[in-house]
Symmetry: D2
Subunit: 390 residues, 4 copies
């Protein structure tokens, strides 16, 4: 790596920001079992404390996303101050309209207008929260869908969805954005109301420029080329961000980069190609993971590092050589340019970068040696551990 | 349909037995939410009462499978008496080694020998329960597996699995059987210890004749031809039974026949071809479903009827014409013989059969008119509704 | 079925039109082998003769799609006359830009501008053909894509695609339409330039009202809900038509309705719900199949019948009862309304309808008895059988 | 990397042998088009010459597999001499029973006994070839299967398959082996007669110790964990070898390591764990690829290098640290041990190893500079290029 390359790569990596999620620090599991862990936060304040620790050791995770109502507090301004004192900020607000008993057959797409009004009211409440926290992004994922053919009219549900989105979109102010997420299946099994990027894109197009699509890397059918979707949405100016995680089969929510690190690299390659790594490009890089069996804080640290490593490799791609080989129709040479970057061990560069920033070059080891886990394990006794229910 | 055909079909259908599952009457859901329903049983006695109602209206569901520890009671003989009084019997005993905190990293395949001993002790306890209930089948599904590459040694886990199965198999007496279930993924995300029929088959082969494979119709990779597996296991004398349900994407546990009724027909066609519908063929036809959003008892009734209808259609296949077309290499004619049976509306035959047996020809309607739901809704108030946790 | 229902269903079925494809009458196969069949056409005139036979026995297949250059002739007006004499018309024109050696790395998305110009010239030539044949629809399927990561720039390829479509769209006249098809994979293996409905939809939206999406039922990732796409495109006024076929795993191109007849019914249910069966709704119902091992003409006849049967069942859905159950949130009742229609045996209705129209109620049997196959087997000797290469 | 580690890794890599396939040097394509390339061999002698070039530049590909009848010659001993003169040996013999018109409805599983006899005769002929070439392995892949439900009796086909395998197995002599390959689908679309490892394993078990399973990495359903199958077959002593390639969706036959290099590493990790890299372990490492659009010889060189790199990484896994973390149930630490090896850039080690062996450290570059391609392009003019048809 030449000094010029290294300087370019380092500058880009220094500017990168990765947002962690409050719920990743809480208990999670499958329908079969939630295995509780020691030291898990009991409230949003403790979740933010854990997120701040991740930022302390990685230096690139300065914000934490909230999930409402799981992170509902009486005073969001106070929560924002708490975060600021710990060196982080509150990030995207994630609306949750899937855990109230009324939402059994859908929230914004429910056949019952009263339920739809309740769902929209929650979305609007989330914008209130954004006003209080200073969050830019309202992230919307709808579990809405149906389990059986015939259960409801899928076109009518699209109409209801459009109406709810329109009302919520109208409530956004300042530089607030709406990020619409799609998901193939789960918890709806037959038809999900926003199942793919095409549906999310079509709705965002209708809504206007502040509505953008968010890609959760675990939400696709098998065989889907995710980096293609990244490229297409970037070309259309409609990529709002990522919910990063990894999966082998369904929405496994494993640590990003754990299942297919080459795919993560290809995604970051499209980002770099489009010069969309810069914060001002408006692509939010967020983690959305479930650490069901592994300790949560070090798993998040590892995930942040995995995104950094994939980014570093993407930054190493020799763009000129790549373009030349592509233009020449030299399949093997073009592929080789990409693979050369991927096969490079970027960990030394990242270690150096951390050292330059006054961080421990080994964030996972530093966390383990910090005693933080021993502290929270001892302190967080009693009370009710946070989980997906709260 | 000729009178001879009708008589043959009717005789076969009269002999068919479908086992329902105690947990299908309890609450269930996804990792996102369990929506509680009204009138849900609070204990195994009430679950059995609901199962008895399904049998009362269908006439072909005379047994109910238990799940231990969800259905743990102090006196299994008493539970069996209760069932008998209501006109049903206790069926397969399903072992559960996935909800104890010790089983976070596996049960019988756990790297810790103490955990493995605990798991095996539970399996042996299940055989004790079988002795008390008179159940023939021990059904084993292991959620064991790993979420991350490297997390554990998959070969060593096979060794541990083999040892646990051997010890449990050795405990079986009389005509008791071990039915080993496989599943592609969930809750383990990277590697499941019994992920496919090949693994289950290989272990059963090692164990001996009382060990057989059970096919859950929702447990396969996309594109898997389930009826092929049925045929291969029947040929090998290793098909112990089915856990019926249906799915669109993963293990959705929807009502059998709801997602792909043609597939269910093809499965039953292989059963009929091998003359394995007869109870003495030893193939157990069980339901294993989750009625997350629909009322449970009528959903089970509908599921039983769906299996009956698929069976009736399979019985209508003109075996001689099919064999002749196959032997002649007449692709279209052979396919047409199969499709002709599938396209036949068999509901009149089944209605007549029910009437002959003194049942209402319309089980779903009869249940609705029976007032049973209104009764349990009123009576089952207070206490703790049964679910997957108990 | 009440007389009123029967009359309504019959009227709708009498109006239905299904277009067959010229290439379905020619030899086809896999990369492993093309098995030649007896009596296969040697030129477009003979293909059209076979299509006319399918129409003669079914009464609902009055047009046949062409594939250029496979069906290139010197005088398209003469070919149209030939068709008319046989009682059929020429239908959609399918452009083929995947078999020239220049297209190895893409046609309209090729990095080489000279190749792109050649590809666009072919698309424009196809509009010339439409002018001569009177065809309404230009059907575009692009095999364009890349096999290896890095091989080409996927965003740049989208730009090139957009430009080619724009130029071609501008050439359309009168009531001519452009139907853009998407396909997950094959023959490109890593990234296809139009892989999903979202990409096709986005381009059609840019182009204008004469550009619409065509759904090939075999072109989706596993687990994709096709009828959802149908509903969404109908809602957006962007569904141009179908390429019907069926598949178990990839783009198997089997007879429509052979793999999952319930899915075909669900698709037709969305069509009926949206009142899009009427020819004036502009949805073209086309077959796109490969009869690799089965005789072609009877396979096409069977396929036409399968579409008719699925349509008839969809027409039987009790729309009022369905809407009422949906509105009431009665999952089981709503599903039951749909399944009731699906389980009905509609073959007698269709047989009657054919008899009313002076057709043999059994088109497959009538074809077999007609002696047509014996005739073409004897006559079509010598020459070069048509296939995918011509 | 410590000197001890480096020495251990180097020794293992020096012993590794990768077999290339004669057909990879010939033209190939999809059902849509075979794009011919310049300089492609016209006969088996020229294919072997190309294979020898791959060995010359990589040093680890000393044998080449043949495909009969594609590589049928009058004098196999002469072909073996030709190979030996060029520094390579003839490897596995691949039987082909899928391109004769008689095999349209199957070869060894065909309902017609005469066709089955013909198919078995070809398998026996292949053993004759092995006797002449000195090949150890008979590799059997059957395209046999059916396209439509009902087309044939899948159980009867298993019986026919078993009989054909038994007869062929009985013909093997000396240290000859039968390697049975499985494949999910293609060219059969509904049911393939050997679709999965379980079926192949069950037949091999019946046959005896000389029958083993071969894993083609592109032949699985989506979501299948291939390294699990590797581990299970190694545990059972039934893994005969690999057909390496890579795929994104179906059997794409791309260069191994191109689609998911992490998966290839995990496969090689299981091999190393079981000490099965040693030639005497009897696991054949073969390439089975189609270079449809990229130049064939450098693509094979790259593929060989990709296997080497994955192997080198697998050899770097710290087995003691891994076992300790696994035994301790430390999920993150165990995963980190594996990932540490994977993220290491092993290309310098391999370059050094090549230099030590007197090879150019950059095989792809050395080939490009060698002038070999210019030579064959000039010389191989006229005649008929080899392809899948010959």
């Amino acid at each position: 790596m030449s000094p010029t390359t290294r300087a370019r790569v380092a500058a880009a990596l220094r500017a990168q920001r990765i947002e962690t999620a409050s719920w990743a620090y809480a208990n999670s599991g499958t329908r079969f079992k939630v295995f509780a862990q020691e030291g898990v936060p009991r409230d949003p304040y403790e979740k933010i404390a854990d997120a701040a620790v991740v930022h302390r050791f990685t230096g690139v995770a300065p914000s934490v996303a909230l999930h409402i109502p799981w992170d509902r507090v009486g005073d969001y301004a106070d929560l924002a101050r708490h975060a600021k004192e710990l060196g982080v900020a509150l990030g995207a607000i994630n609306a949750n309209v899937f855990q109230d008993d009324d939402f059994k057959l859908g929230s914004v797409t429910n056949p019952d207008p009263a339920v739809r009004r309740k769902a929209v009211a929650h979305l609007l409440e989330c914008v209130d929260v954004m006003d209080a926290t200073g969050s830019r992004d309202l992230k919307l994922w709808f579990s809405d869908g149906i389990n059986y053919p015939g259960q409801d009219d899928v076109r009518a549900r699209q109409d209801r969805l459009a109406e709810a989105l329109r009302e919520t979109y109208g409530r956004l102010g300042g530089d607030q954005r709406m990020l619409l997420e799609y998901k193939l299946f789960e918890p709806a099994f037959y038809a999900t109301d926003v199942p793919d990027w095409g549906t999310a894109y079509a709705h965002c197009l209708q809504l206007g420029p502040r509505a953008q699509v968010v890609i959760d890397t675990g939400h696709h059918a098998p065989g889907t080329n995710i980096e293609f979707i990244v490229a297409v949405l970037l070309r259309a100016g409609k990529l709002g961000g990522f919910d990063f995680n990894s999966r082998f089969y369904a929405d496994d929510d494993l640590m990003v980069g754990a299942a297919d690190p080459f795919q993560l690299f290809r995604i970051m390659h499209e980002i770099v190609l489009a010069d969309a790594l810069r914060p001002e490009a408006g692509v939010a890089f967020m983690l959305d993971q479930c650490h069901n069996i592994e300790p949560k804080i070090p798993a998040v640290i590892r995930s942040v590092m995995n995104v950094q490593e994939a980014t570093a490799k993407a930054l190493l791609v020799d763009a000129d050589a790549l373009a030349a080989a592509q233009q020449a129709g030299d399949v093997l040479a073009a592929n080789a340019v990409l693979m050369d970057a991927y096969h490079t061990d970027v960990r030394p560069v990242l270690a150096e970068l951390r050292a330059d920033a006054g961080l421990d070059p080994d964030p996972v080891g530093a966390y383990a040696r910090s005693g933080y886990f021993e502290k929270i394990r001892a302190e967080r006794v009693g009370g009710r551990q946070a989980g997906w229910g709260a």
